[in-house]
Symmetry: C2
Subunit: 337 residues, 2 copies
């Protein structure tokens, strides 16, 4: 089968930043299923790993990354109970195993969901990683729920990115929160409104932007951009006993003590934690993905895909990473096989 | 009435580190009640404020601190609904108002509870601040509950202090957790076992101490001593998706990013947050104190008082602070009026 990977961390414009190569189709054992991939999407984690994981070393067999795929089940391990051959499934996968930049992939059934049926394959391919991340941070980490939190206010830092796009929708349409999203360009502002944001603020001078639209403080803040950069604003804007979540890549220590006076809570979300540590509750991701499928099929959530590249080629993988690395992409980018 | 305070932050051995003086009895208005105090207890927050709040300045009227009292209601403001004259009440109070080192005090009824009936006045005086802190961190911050958390494991850093003594009991007797407490001297170890700890560990080399007794990781960690000092151990010992709480006085920034891989949560607890910010739910402290009274009266919680000084004098206040500042006290110290 065909796979695309890299032997060394290279600038995306270099010839070998992505290489097409042949690989054996793996065998599904235990709780693994073998999936024939039909489309994938790219996420910031992809280029971060491409640029950093093989910086100081080189490997003979190219490293296969990519953590978003849709496809059909080709074979099942002997302990598989959730899926059968022919099911169309979607998933983000496991950071500790090969990714989805290949024609066939094995993945643990507990982190796989039934794909949505009423949206296109490309649209569905864009959803798993961002939906799992946005769902986990709001429901599993901050433990928000409609009963007790309806009409409370959430500030979403980074509304137009992949996770922000699903985050705004879940916060607004499923939890009934009042949603303030940061969006600083016209195209991102329009996108956030389309996702359901109630208020938009510029990320620069965030504190006065939020106060200007009538909020002294907010109940919840989730950061999808840069925790260190927004720390001071977060400390000022969070309500006493408020909840703060982040998925961003920390660039240094933070003065956590500044939150003590308010008895505030801080939650990390990493979508890979459950699979990486094989937590007892890792099957939660199966249930979350099924729920996301249902919300998409019922039209409650709208797809966040914005760009499709046709054909699983090294050139398309380069184009995909190049766009994502520019930081200018809005919504999600999908590569159709 | 008599009050005891200080005009300047002084070493406890200096003559004027505490001064007795006369003060007008205040009037209860609104939701405030006026309490005739019968006994108080001291907490680390007392000497921290005595030592630091008037370091660079001096005031004419002595500053009155102290946040633990039991007494009887003498008068009620016109909006008071929870208490009537003659009720015996106990409370920790509000950091932004005068404390309980005086014969009469006004306090908002929403942070006051009915005193326990089956234990002594001195024993009851020792409970409010530490019980509120321990209860809030376990139930309101980490959101632990018996149904879902029974038999999970909590590591309590600082088991023999005031908050630790109640924390061990609530974790063990009310939540049904398996409790590991740090205690490094014979007297503190005995005390922690008396409070209900299942396992004791030395605070030095905490990681290997915990592993030695058979735990690779723990579900919850609460720090009542020093977050910076134990940070590395906390990062290593917490389970993926685990919960960490702290009440300690932070000495510097922390590398919060180290918890991201595990998607762990961090909670601050400051007992004064609710009153300080007049949060909508500040009446929660009334309910918590009533529940603590019931648990004490039913013999489920045992009192944590260990030392009583007889007489509300500057000499006794000095003795109380001196003992607390030594860091060697076990359980709680009470001054009886």
């Amino acid at each position: 089968m065909k796979a695309i990977g890299f032997k060394k961390s290279l600038h995306i414009d270099e010839a070998d930043s992505f290489i097409e190569f042949e690989k054996e189709i793996p065998t599904a054992e235990g709780r693994d299923i073998l999936v024939k991939i039909e489309a994938i999407s790219v996420n910031p984690v992809d280029y971060k790993i491409r640029k950093n994981s093989l910086k100081d070393t080189q490997q003979d067999i190219p490293k296969v990354i990519g953590w978003d795929a849709i496809g059909t089940v080709e074979a099942t391990g002997d302990e598989v109970t959730l899926f059968k051959k022919g099911d169309r499934v979607y998933y983000a996968g496991d950071l500790t195993r090969d990714g989805s930049n290949q024609e066939f992939q094995i993945v643990d059934e507990r982190i796989v969901g039934m794909a949505p049926k009423n949206i296109s394959i490309e649209q569905a391919a864009a959803m798993p990683l961002t939906s799992l991340t946005a769902y986990e941070i709001l429901f599993d980490r901050l433990q928000l729920n409609k009963e007790k939190d309806k009409d409370k206010t959430i500030l979403i830092i980074g509304g137009a990115g992949g996770v922000g796009s699903v985050g705004i929708q879940l916060a607004k349409k499923v939890l009934g929160l009042s949603v303030i999203a940061t969006a600083s360009r016209e195209v991102t502002a329009e996108w956030c409104l389309k996702m359901g944001a109630d208020h938009l603020v510029n990320h620069q001078d965030l504190v006065s932007e939020v106060k200007k639209i009538g909020f002294e403080q907010v109940d919840f803040i989730v950061d999808f951009v840069n925790l260190n950069e927004y720390w001071d604003a977060i400390v000022e804007l969070i309500k006493p006993q408020g909840k703060i979540g982040s998925i961003s890549d920390p660039t240094g220590p933070v003065p956590l003590n500044q939150l003590k006076k308010k008895s505030a809570a801080f939650y990390w979300e990493l979508m890979f934690t459950r699979a990486m540590f094989q937590t007892e509750d890792m099957i939660a991701q199966h249930h979350i993905l099924n729920q996301i499928s249902q919300l998409l099929d019922e039209g409650i959530l709208q797809p966040t895909m914005n760009t499709t590249l046709d054909g699983f080629t090294a050139e398309n993988m380069k184009a995909a990473h190049r766009l994502l690395e520019s930081g200018k992409s809005v919504g999600k980018l999908v590569v159709k096989f």
